[in-house]
Symmetry: C2
Subunit: 101 residues, 2 copies
DNA sequence: ATAATTTGGTTTATAACGTAAACTTATTTA
DNA sequence: TAAATAAGTTTACGTTATAAACCAAATTAT
């Protein structure tokens, strides 16, 4: 009836991060911070979790002399996001008293 | 850009409960338990939270000699659910690099 | 009759999670 | 050269979610 929701994606900030990365193939840390309105600390933690799960890749480079963290979604992450969206539908659709399952 | 998600609804089990109640105007505790696959304890806690928030009403009656807990969604709860669905869309839609906001 | 099981839950203890605050390091700017 | 800013990370804490333990009444088995 209700499909389980990937707990890694069922989090406001992590979902927002993934949402951004689905649309733009890469994004820098400060941009994600600005778009999501998250604090740097919270963002850092959640980026790390997504990265550890293999949902995003994180590249640490430099932009001039300043450090620059670039995030990208991975194929695994994209698949997980798509699956999550499908699963969510089972919660959002109105069921007109269907039988079982 | 991303609308905040009502924390009370952004929970797998509570969302499932609300989803059931949106479609069926009332549902008994054991039915919700069966449909969601939740444990009775977890369900009891989450029903209580939704009830405290005024999102559902809980009526305790009897069915024959056995206790029977009936849940119904309230207008407040329905509104909250609808708002949540709208807010969620801001995370699920693919944005083709639109400008700002 | 009474013991065991089932039904229908509630309470509570714990582990996981989200978040902000504090901190670090390097770089500009005053 | 001192202060402020940028770009993060670490850590500490309060909040949540969840299962385990519990309770009471009714039903079924012995």
């Amino acid at each position: 009836m209700f499909e389980p929701l990937d707990p890694l994606l069922h989090s406001e900030l992590r979902l927002a991060i993934m949402s951004l990365l689905v649309s733009s193939d890469e994004a820098e840390f400060p941009y994600i911070k600005e778009q999501t309105g998250a604090t740097a600390g919270n963002l850092s933690v959640q980026v790390d979790k997504l990265s550890t799960a293999g949902y995003i890749s994180v590249e640490k480079t430099f932009k001039g002399k300043r450090p620059c963290t670039i995030c990208r979604i991975t194929p695994t992450g994209l698949k997980a996001f798509e699956d999550y969206v499908v699963a969510l539908r089972s919660y959002l659709e109105v069921k007109s008293d269907e039988k079982k399952e």
